[in-house]
Symmetry: C2
Subunit: 157 residues, 2 copies
């Protein structure tokens, strides 16, 4: 009977180790929070969620880890114009869960949407290919955000 159990270890161990990074409590905690939280967390949001369980993980480590994860492409660093960076897991273990954003300039709320029109995906691929060739650019990511007013804010306006 194997003594280690792996079910709780998270799918990222492999990728993480492969890149030469050490596995630490702090990093696991951060990844754990990111994977079980919906939404767009700031560094401090994450710190506050991590702290009760791991009081000795500092905010500095949160920033450093998010930077590593972002460089590895495991996390997206986003800017919604509220003066602090926001982070979300790039994708789950099963593969992509790609989405774009609707940002309310009134209340700063953000809606994820995945209901792309079929043509949207296709156009994006064409565009990436075309632009890549024309400008000799190796594209590996994109950000699409719509700005406007949510229902509440249109009314209260």
């Amino acid at each position: 009977m194997p003594r280690g159990n792996c079910q709780g270890q998270g799918w990222w161990h492999g990728k993480f180790r492969d890149c030469g990074y050490r596995l630490t409590i702090g990093r696991e905690a951060i990844l754990d929070i990111l994977s079980r939280s919906e939404g767009h967390l700031s560094a401090e949001d994450i710190y506050i969620k991590v702290h009760p369980k791991y009081p000795n993980v500092g905010l500095t480590t949160i920033y450093r880890t998010l930077d590593v994860l972002s460089n590895l492409g495991m996390v997206y660093k986003l800017d919604f114009g509220d003066g602090r960076a926001r982070y979300e897991l790039a994708e789950g273990p099963k593969g992509a869960h790609h989405h774009h954003h609707l940002v309310c300039t009134g209340c700063n709320s953000v809606i994820d949407y995945t209901d792309f029109i079929d043509e949207e995906v296709e156009l994006l691929q064409q565009t990436e290919k075309g632009l890549g060739k024309k400008y000799n650019f190796k594209i590996n990511n994109h950000v699409i955000q719509f700005y406007g007013l949510c229902g509440k804010c249109s009314v209260n306006k």
Copy 2:
């Protein structure tokens, strides 16, 4: 013979006044710099360009004016991930000159592109309409940016 001449006054006077804002030297200088500069200027970039001619326009005014212009929709405030906001004129007097961005994550250079815009614009309008209805969202702007490595950075990598 009319004594004022208007040719140098800039097309924005009207819009600006209509919104109840006063016309000041500083504001004109900033708009002037924005309209005659290519590229994506930070507040400080603008300050440096304005300063020789108008040494008594302070950085604070640059920030305040950019905020006003941005709220009026005359200027886009952009984030390319280098820690400072960048600004560009939304459009010239003749109408739109809409474009999107290719951002190099290696050297932070940015390419404006207008290729594929036609198809994109059409799709975008569909998408805006669809999303607007579904999420009860009044969309009035969007940001599309592709991230990757420019030619130089792919090589030097």
